[in-house]
Symmetry: C2
Subunit: 214 residues, 2 copies
């Protein structure tokens, strides 16, 4: 049995962060498919009781440990592997700062935006999409500015902060109805730098469930 | 000069978490008022360049250190004081899990909801309020269930997780248009337990800027 199991599905940028980290550190892992779209599996009482009371992916299983929230999984795997790890108190605090911000304000809005725009039936209300898009533009602007001054979010080398933030921006532009790399040139260059890391894969090649059944 | 300065304003539940922590650990601190409502101060280039590129409160100043994101400030102060600190690797990971979830899904939605409902001019679109309220109800339900089985979020004693999660629920019900403690009985009892801690204060008694000028 592989060392790690990851509850995930291809369309989840949140799960992608954990899957990408596992691949980038060369871990022995396998996905456990969660049928979010057909069965609403994360919302079932069984999933909430046995896998994650928050009703979410990703969940990483490492022996007796079961960890949820991608930010937790990234921290755990970086400490265990020594890879992509922020070093020293100041850098660890700075990493936490960007990871929390990302979860609330970048991928935290990109996920629901894409879902309501393209995946949910019926699609979301236009006013909700406008609200989310306004937040997204503001926050991608902050990230783009940050990346104009350094190759990776914390500085010269890639860390778990980058692996957190790249989550949804690698998904196809047509799923958002706007082109993230086409709009933000520093983000675009950074996505290419991350893509060049050994072990990088696109979310649809890394996790099961793509394409969705018609 | 007090040991800590905290950039904040009374209406920010995010800043309240940091202010409450400082008071609960008995720190010597003073608020630095940020005029969010009149001057949009957090959105100015000056604030972004000199205080926080994310354009947010809270920001904690401790000598040469300047920390933003309440989750970072809570971690930092708990490590420094030894108070409300999760202990051991497993509890630290579990604390991080709930703090990230809170920032995205509980207070991360309560803040914008209350702002759009009551504080912004004009108020937010009803469809946006409905969207946010749906998320809030789901997530407060998860928290209420969690608190049905233990007095504090991680177990027998209060930690920084509780100080993070109580942020907006102490603000007046009329600012939300619904009554959080009145709706969720386990949350209500937990808010009372937190209120009984020495040093607890209501956000409007702890930070400057309330009431807003007419």
């Amino acid at each position: 049995m592989p060392a790690y199991q990851l509850y995930c599905f291809a369309q989840s940028g949140n799960a992608y962060r954990a899957a990408l980290m596992l691949n980038l550190i060369g871990a022995d892992w396998k996905p456990v498919f969660v049928d979010f779209f057909k069965g609403g599996e994360t919302r079932t009482p069984k999933y909430r009781a046995e896998v994650n009371e928050m009703g979410e992916v990703p969940v990483l299983v490492d022996g007796a440990k079961k960890l949820s929230q991608s930010g937790v999984i990234l921290n755990y795997l970086s400490e265990k592997s020594g890879k992509f790890r922020p070093e020293g108190e100041d850098e660890k605090l700075e990493a936490l700062r960007w990871i929390i911000w990302d979860n609330q304000k970048v991928n935290g809005f990109l996920g629901p935006y894409r879902f309501l725009k393209t995946l949910s039936k019926p699609p979301g209300d236009p006013a909700v999409l406008t609200f989310l898009k306004g937040r997204i533009d503001n926050n991608l602007g902050i990230l783009d500015k940050r990346l104009s001054e350094r190759p990776f979010v914390l500085g010269a080398r890639p860390t778990i902060v980058d692996i957190s933030l790249v989550a949804y921006p690698y998904y196809p532009a047509e799923e958002f109805g706007f082109d993230i790399p086409g709009t933000y040139k520093n983000i675009a260059a950074w996505l290419e730098r991350m893509k060049a890391l050994p072990g990088w894969k696109h979310p649809y090649d890394l996790m099961p469930g793509h394409p969705l059944p018609a």
